[in-house]
Amino acid sequence: MKKKTKKDIPYFDNNIHWKPQSKIWFLSAVLAFVAALAFDYFMPFKQTVNPAPYRIFLLIMIVSLAVLYAVSSKFITLRRKLLHNAQFIFVAALALALWDFLTAKSGIFPLPFFPGPLQITDVMVKDYKMLLISALFSTRLFFVGLIVGSVSGILTGILIGWFRQWDYWLSPVIKVSGVIPAVAWIPIAIAVFPNSFSSGVFLIFIASWFMVSFMTAGGISATPKSYFEVARTLGASEKYLLFHIAVPNAVPNIFMGILTATSLCFATLVVSEMIGAKAGLGWYINWAKGWSVYSKVYAAIIIMAVSFSIILAVIGVVKNYLLRWQKGILK
């Protein structure tokens, strides 16, 4: 293992950033945003809107692209990433302009069901407090539920995977109850739990617990026999075999379970908030729909996409850290 020194020529994997490393494309991307801004500024409106937030958003995009480019002269990987994604950014800017044209500029897509980027950015700015609070509520509910569900899933998975008795008594229960979608429990959860938060936690717990325990048990019982034989001839006790051989061997499986559970939990979270809760993004969407303010619905959906992506990225970082030994084995 050689230590990296500054003199080492950085190695680039052209399979990761395979798009042309061309400055022209990046410049075009920035210019596309300028064009979208100019288009919005000069073309008259058919709908009555407040254009300021959208224009500021476009300006922010232009400035941040420029700043990122300047900063990336110091960070070669960032520069390569920017140039790789230049074509996408370019098309995204054009798509924004097209969307603007189809909605506020021409009215081809009618209100209230198809708001344009202007209405949505406007709503995001006007209603930012509510949206932020809703997003935080959803995130908190998600993490509490997922952590409770994953921890109990890992524990039951270990018990089932390691002890025959637990396997005998619990496996059938998990297999049968696991196929029930968590949202089916909503009426019961609302009736049994004192508030919407605890009933939400319960539903997300249900959604994640089954998946995680199932995968954990699979990982534990799939530990190669040779691992145990090696460890036993090295003087390992039963406890050591479980916690230092079987459980680490199951970690990739555990994460597969958690990641699968995560998408189940997103669905459960939104549905449970829509039905029973008085806070969160799911509730916000439902509430906005009640008032037929579809721009708010879209705004909440966009916020949801961003927050769920961040959540997935956080889980991914934890996973990559714990499974750093797999780097280079897979793919």
Binding site: M1, P224, S226, Y227, E229, V230, A231, R232, T233, L234, G235, A236, S237, Y240, H244, I245, P248, N249, V251, W325, Q326, G328, I329
Partner: protein, 260 residues
């Protein structure tokens, strides 16, 4: 010869094949392994040489007969009987040094023996690879790590179950000298299973020839060659001929060795 370290008495190991027939993996096996010797077990597939090693390790139990180490009956696997498998079987989530440390940690003697890890890694010439993960090193390196992982427990006997079978010819010769070096410096008793006749002659003081169905000891040959063993030496060639005849393989091709 010195004291016997392992005593094997009237050992039978039976399993049933898919038709329900009794198969003797080992039948009435009697042998003593002496303290500090290098003994090889050779024979065709199915002669029970691996079974015998697994019985000594305590990984399996015999149907009848007794195995004892210095007078104590062998029970569960123990760190005093180190075992090297054909595959290195390093744990992929542990670095080289963590793999070597398993024995110390599992026995709860890690703190006082920490510095031994570096010494052992030095011995096999893997310094600089302490923090590498198993998939980042070659098969030969991995097998060397597996060997010191067992050795760091200072076992009374090292059971080697075809540890070199998965390596190429160059690596094998390198590893053979490493085994001899370990045997000479650490005075560990070595019980070595192989189906390579030359390897057995090159390494051992005694060669146990086994036959299959039922698995039995056919003959034990004392190797009286000196320290440096030249494979083209007349005595070496003569010994090879004797062993091959004993194996009744002299006229037919030896079995191919598979590495998985």
């Amino acid at each position: 010869m010195s004291e016997p370290i392992i005593t094997i008495k009237d050992v039978n190991s039976i399993y049933r094949d898919s038709f329900g027939h009794k198969i003797y993996a080992l039948r009435n096996v009697n042998i003593e392994l002496y303290d500090g010797e290098f003994i090889s077990f050779i024979g065709p597939s199915g002669c029970g040489k691996t079974t015998l090693l697994r019985l000594i390790a305590g990984l399996d139990k015999p149907q009848s007969g007794t195995l004892s180490i210095q007078g104590n009956v062998i029970g569960k696997p123990d760190h005093e009987r180190g075992y090297i498998f054909q595959q290195p079987t390093l744990f992929p989530w542990k670095t080289v040094e963590d793999n070597v440390a398993i024995g110390l940690k599992a026995r709860g003697v890690y703190k006082e023996n920490k510095n031994k890890i570096g010494e052992y890694i030095n011995m096999i010439g893997l310094n600089g690879f302490e923090k590498a993960y198993p998939h980042e090193i070659s098969g030969g390196m991995a097998q060397r790590v597996a060997i010191i992982r067992a050795l760091i427990n200072e076992p009374k006997i090292l059971l080697l179950d075809e540890p070199l079978a998965a390596l190429d010819a160059f690596k094998r010769i390198e590893m053979q000298s490493l085994l001899i070096k370990i045997w000479k410096t650490m005075k560990t008793t070595m019980a070595f299973v192989t189906h390579d006749v030359d390897e057995a002659i090159a390494l051992s003081q005694r060669i146990v020839i086994m036959t299959s169905r039922p698995g039995k000891i056919r003959k034990i040959i004392d190797v009286k060659l000196g320290g440096r063993r030249d494979r083209n030496n007349d005595e070496f060639i003569a010994l090879r001929k004797i062993i091959l005849e004993e194996l009744q393989l002299a006229s037919i091709l030896p079995e191919p060795e598979y590495s998985i």
